[in-house]
């Protein structure tokens, strides 16, 4: 009973406290997190219930014993599969759109998992943060290196990324000269040059 009351109290706190927290505190967890914490507290409550449970008597028959083991097995797998299916999902991938213009094809290449640019570089809100933000890259790199145009700079970054590494970032970008066909390289450059 004590465990049940504790679990209810903690869950109530998880949902009630954020209502009184302002966003400025930087501690206000969103609904998704509160659901995760609630599930976790319920699991912890179940575990502590098991810890306090009295010793179980031996099974009355072999069939019951094996049946119980089988039930635990199936329930464990089923619960994990259910949890995975309730977790955030992306849709099955369809055919990649190649687009009519060079810029469109370049954008498709940029966000193609097979190429991987977006995994490290963000454009607007899509992408990773291991590398520099490319949202306005064509404007930013215009004057980055004296005597080098934005287009030349971007091409060098793709083909020989180690030639110049933006400060505070690591030199981990792989060269894309061999990964992209000449046409893909031109398309990707067209896309990057459109990011002003």
């Amino acid at each position: 009973m004590r465990i049940f009351i504790t679990v209810i109290a903690v869950i109530a706190a998880i949902w009630v406290v954020p209502v009184f927290l302002s966003d400025d505190t930087g501690l206000k967890f969103g609904v998704s997190y509160r659901v995760l914490f609630t599930l976790f507290v319920m699991f912890a409550g179940f575990l502590f219930y098991l810890l306090g449970a009295p010793e179980s008597k031996p099974f009355k028959s072999t069939a019951r014993a094996v049946g119980s083991a089988g039930l635990v097995f199936v329930a464990s797998i089923g619960a994990i599969v259910l949890l995975a299916n309730l977790s955030p999902q992306f849709a099955f991938e369809g055919q990649a759109s190649t687009g009519a213009s060079s810029e469109d094809r370049g954008k498709a290449a940029f966000f193609d998992p097979g190429v991987g640019c977006f995994l490290c570089h963000v454009v607007e809100t899509s992408g990773g943060t291991r590398g520099p933000d490319l949202t306005h890259v064509a404007t930013v790199v215009e004057t980055r290196r004296q005597g080098m145009s934005a287009r030349d700079y971007l091409k060098e970054s793709l083909v020989n990324p180690g030639a110049y590494v933006v400060p505070t970032f690591d030199n981990i970008m792989p060269p894309f000269g061999d990964r992209l066909s000449p046409e893909q390289l031109e398309d990707t450059l067209a896309y990057l040059m459109s990011l002003r």
Binding site: F40, S76, P88, G114, G116, L119
Partner: protein, 462 residues
Amino acid sequence: MPPNVPLINDRLVLWVASELHLLFAAFVLGAPIFIVVCEYLGLKTRDQRYERLAKETMKIVAIAYSLTALFGGAMTFVLVGKYQEFSNFIFQRFYPVFGLYALLLLVESSLMYVYWYTWDALAGRKGLHISIGVLLNILGTLVMVLMNGVGSFMLTPPENPAAASVWQSLNNATWTGLNLHRFVANISFGGFMVALFASVMFLTSKKEEDRAFYDWMGYIGNFIGVAALVVLPVAGYVYTKEIFAYDATISTLLMADKLAWFFVIQGVLVGLLFLGAVYYMWLSIRRIEGGARFRTYIRGAIWVSLVGLAVWLIPQTFLPSLTADPTGPISEVTIPEKTIFLGLMPAKGLAVSAMVVVTAFVYLLYRQAIATGKMAWGRIDVKAQLVLTFLPAVAVFTMAFMGPIREMARGQWHIFQFMADKTPYSFITPLGYAAIVAGIITIVFFLLMGAIFWLGFKVGQH
């Protein structure tokens, strides 16, 4: 599913065949390691329980061996029949490796049968019998290492794969990490499977002395499983570090993009394994005279593990991929700024380290309890035997789940950045789909192991 991809397709058949091959292979490689160790311990300590454990487990291994080969054959047929460009290249590139693999497999199979069928005949020459077992394990490990080279080549091929030598292809960036991770995982897996056998035999035993033996066997199997499990996060970290050093985009795909939530589920699975192991200790320490006094410390360890698991599970975001658009305010699905450190590697590393340390601590407490009290084997809470069913279920599911994660890390490549997968099945599957397939594979594996077990222990009893 995309509309032009049938429900049962080449990729799914290959997925299931290769996973089942891997699960049986992990068992026939992992179990003999500690079978030989137990046989040696039986010789050293003259404790006949080790001898009985080793022999009874080897019976299962001997039967499981043929299923390993069966699914390996099925996997090869699908590869050769449906992925001809890829299999042509792989067999040509690794021809000497496959030749050596076939030779080692032949010798290993022969040794395995010699090891099993001379068990009683060499009862008076245990040293020789154990030596055969050691050689069997060396060959089995070599067989695994060779195929790990092929598998790791697909993810991290050397520069200019077309011109690379066999050795350069084999000795690629992640060969060592994969070898280490798989070797340790096989031992852990073997231990948990032995614990499962023991729990079933305990639950179905009628005699007190049999229950005492299977209680002990379950403890030993679980001990081996957990002892190897505590090392696995380190091995996994080494492996992932090698992947990152090779190409950062793969690790970003794994940890921040489409496969990130697969790793959240992996965190749940590993957390369940550690908590299950400690709960088993909680239940079983009561059968040691004076053991109950350690329970306060075990409860403390469970608290630490729960906090560690909570930190480990907290995701940076609830978005399923880097390019997903949130359906509502972004603040609802992203970690608050002041707590961002909870979603990063240092916090995760600390959390899993805490879980590993407290689990090891609990086992030390258990050893102390055994040293200072009298053990009543067989007088264990039956819930403990159900835990020994739960742990292998989660362990096998984890293996069945992690395999496709590694395969899908290649994205739409058969061989990363070298040979594209141009089939309609080259997509990364959503998390739920992968979990369903892993669940089916796990259940099929246990049904087959159940059949092997029934053959070995009920039909073959003499």
